[in-house]
């Protein structure tokens, strides 16, 4: 089977600076794939190499089985939605959307039909005669999408397309984008530094750091079973406790406190036990921990109200733990200074290599 996009041993160096280091990545046809990572991790460089704005220093890059590493952008069956939208300010919305078809020498009458259909799809038919500066950020974003999709690319590349929108609009566009992708069935490669965006929209996520691809998996794998400390730390809040596997099904925290290991642990090499704050339970020191659960005693250091939840910082012998308690009626509150037990299901934790 051929992949929509396949990178083999791709590296990109700018002089002495290594932007991407021997990257292997295969993206399936019709997949919504996100490249997630902090700024400077190489995700945008990777996207730009797929688009053709940068050429790899080493390695091969194929789109649907055809080698494309050194093809110029105008000879690749991909289109890009830019972070700044990059709408041509001197053209109308219709001219913007029709630009790609015009360059491909599509007949005038067909251009006009397809532009109309693309603008219908993003609900902007009424604004086709306007110039981009007359449109709101959300509308410009939709024009940028229409301008790319009207060409029916084999792969659509999106470079943080929602970054410039405010929170409400961003959340709405996330849903729209996902629906659109399912409707048109085109492979999306989506670059973002926003983990929530990646988790909610993607079929699979590739987490990058320092030019390397650290882990590829679907949202639950990335969130619940991170394989590296970086991935665990980057996606959401997490407690990382120094840990070592000291026996069958036993993990010793901070060299002092043995607890039950998660059942999914393979091998015995691990350096950290990763615990999500929302997986931790908090009870008074005189309450009983349920059977077959791990627990640590500690003292409440701090409590912060977040509206939908309370955040506690609990000092324990193995280190400070962040604990999140969902805010609902009858929730017992613990004041700073009180003694408590923190407990969790053994499988709520993940073992993480350095």
């Amino acid at each position: 089977m051929t992949y929509a996009v396949e990178l083999r041993g791709v590296s990109k160096r700018f002089g002495e600076v290594v932007a991407v280091e021997s990257l292997d990545l295969a993206i399936d046809d019709g997949e919504f794939f996100s490249l997630l990572g902090p700024s400077g991790c190489g995700k945008t460089t990777t996207l730009r190499m797929i688009a053709g704005f940068e050429y790899p220093t080493e390695g091969s890059l194929a789109i649907h089985g055809t080698e494309m590493a050194l093809q110029p952008p105008n000879q690749r069956p991909v289109n890009t939605v830019f972070q700044s939208y990059a709408l041509f300010p001197h053209m109308t919305i219709a001219e913007n959307v029709g630009f790609g078809l015009l360059m491909q020498k599509v007949a005038k009458s067909e251009i006009s039909t397809r532009v109309d259909r693309a603008l219908d799809m993003v609900q902007l038919s009424q604004r086709k005669g306007a110039t981009p500066d007359k449109l709101s950020g959300g509308q410009q974003q939709r024009v940028a999408l229409a301008r790319a999709l009207v060409n029916e690319p084999e792969v659509l590349l999106l470079d943080e397309p929602l970054g410039a929108l405010d929170l409400k609009l961003r959340q709405q566009m996330q849903i729209e984008l996902k629906e659109l992708q399912e409707r048109v069935g085109i492979t999306f490669v989506y670059v973002t530094h926003d983990q929530e965006e990646a988790l909610t929209m993607s079929d699979r996520i590739g987490v990058m750091s320092d030019g390397r691809l650290l882990q590829v998996g679907d949202a639950t794998e990335i969130y619940e079973r991170p394989t590296s400390r970086f991935v665990a730390d980057f996606i959401g809040d997490i407690n990382l406790l120094p840990a070592a596997i000291t026996g069958p099904g036993v993990v010793t925290l901070a060299g002092t406190t043995p607890v039950s290991a998660p059942s999914a642990v393979a091998g015995n090499a691990a350096n950290w036990l990763a615990l999500r704050p929302e997986q931790l339970h908090l009870i008074r020191h005189d309450e009983i921990v349920p059977d077959d659960r791990n627990s640590i005693s500690g003292t409440v250091n701090n409590r912060v109200y977040f509206g939908d939840s309370y955040y506690y910082v609990v000092a324990t012998p193995v280190g400070a733990l962040d604990v999140r308690q969902e805010n609902r009626p009858g929730l017992a509150l613990h004041d700073p200074g009180t003694s408590v037990h923190v407990w969790w299901h053994p499988d709520a934790a993940a073992m993480v290599l350095e």
Binding site: P73, T80, F88, P89, H90, G100, M103, T131, N151
Partner: protein
């Protein structure tokens, strides 16, 4: 509510008026006396347009004007093309010697006219000596004036175009490439329309500078190839006549018009209008 006017405020206001008077009274006097009926400068004998008529019937003036226009037109076109290309190259490409070129490109703007003029004269003397040795005979004239004007105008065009390029979002050109435009189509349909206000502004600035130049032109012009400003300068040395006022007024109006037009273009008129212009020219 009343604001107190202090003596300092009054002094500043007076200074402002003085500065304006200092700048503009001579120009006003020049313009007014260009309409003087008297043959003697400085004595008002009533309104007349006779000097304008006399100037426009003078074959020497017309010849100088023709030379000025030829030089201005040729040097503007050449300097605009070369200056725009230089601005694009320095803005876009990373090549050996780029920083050095960037620095010296603007040198003609800051070096004194007289230095530029002497340099040009020496250059032409040396170049002509070499060429003459090979056979053809060249001498100073329209050609050398035009080349000199191109030389100093390139810098001004490049500065204006680069300012415009600096504001250009690079992802626009990438978007064009992404949407199947080749390099030439990207330039013609995206880059050029967007920098056109800068290119036209630079061209008008070049035209103005060429029409106004005295020093460089005086050095590199030959017998019978004088431009209008140089001709006026020559007349003044033989004594001020009201005809000079008339010529100067004409040049003043033309210069103000060109500079104003240049500013309008640099401010950037509606972008879509530029596309229309491009579409019509291609």
């Amino acid at each position: 509510m009343t604001t107190r006017t202090t003596s300092l405020d009054r002094a500043l206001a007076a200074n402002t008026w003085f500065v304006y008077a200092f700048f503009y009274l001579p120009i006003l006097v020049l313009v007014v006396f260009s309409f003087n009926a008297s043959t003697r400068v400085g004595i008002w004998r009533g309104f007349s347009t006779r000097w304008y008529g006399e100037v426009l019937r003078n074959p020497e003036v017309l010849d100088a004007l023709k030379n000025s226009l030829i030089v201005a037109a040729l040097s503007t076109v050449a300097a605009t093309v070369i200056g725009t290309a230089a601005a694009l190259a320095i803005d876009r490409y990373r090549f050996r010697g780029r920083r050095g070129l960037d620095g010296i490109l603007y040198l003609p703007i800051i070096i004194p006219d007289v230095t530029m003029a002497v340099m040009m004269l020496l250059f032409f003397a040396r170049a002509f000596a070499l060429i003459d040795a090979a056979g053809p005979r060249f001498q100073l004239g329209i050609g050398s004036i035009t080349l000199s004007h191109i030389a100093f105008n390139i810098s001004f065009v490049a500065v204006v175009v680069r300012a415009r390029l600096g504001q250009l979002d690079g992802s626009l050109e990438e978007a064009a490439r992404d949407l199947y435009a080749n390099s030439w189509q990207t330039f013609r349909r995206v880059t050029l329309p967007l920098i056109l206000p800068g290119v036209l502004g630079g061209a008008l600035l070049a035209l103005t500078l060429s029409l106004d130049d005295v020093v460089v032109t005086a050095f590199v012009s030959g017998p019978g190839s004088t431009t209008l400003p140089v001709y006026v300068f020559g007349l003044v040395r033989r004594g001020v006549s009201p005809a000079i006022n008339a010529i100067s007024t004409i040049m003043l109006v033309a210069s103000i018009g060109l500079v104003a037009l240049s500013l309008v273009f640099q401010r950037g008129p509606k972008a879509s209008r530029n596309t229309e212009m491009i579409k019509e020219t291609t």
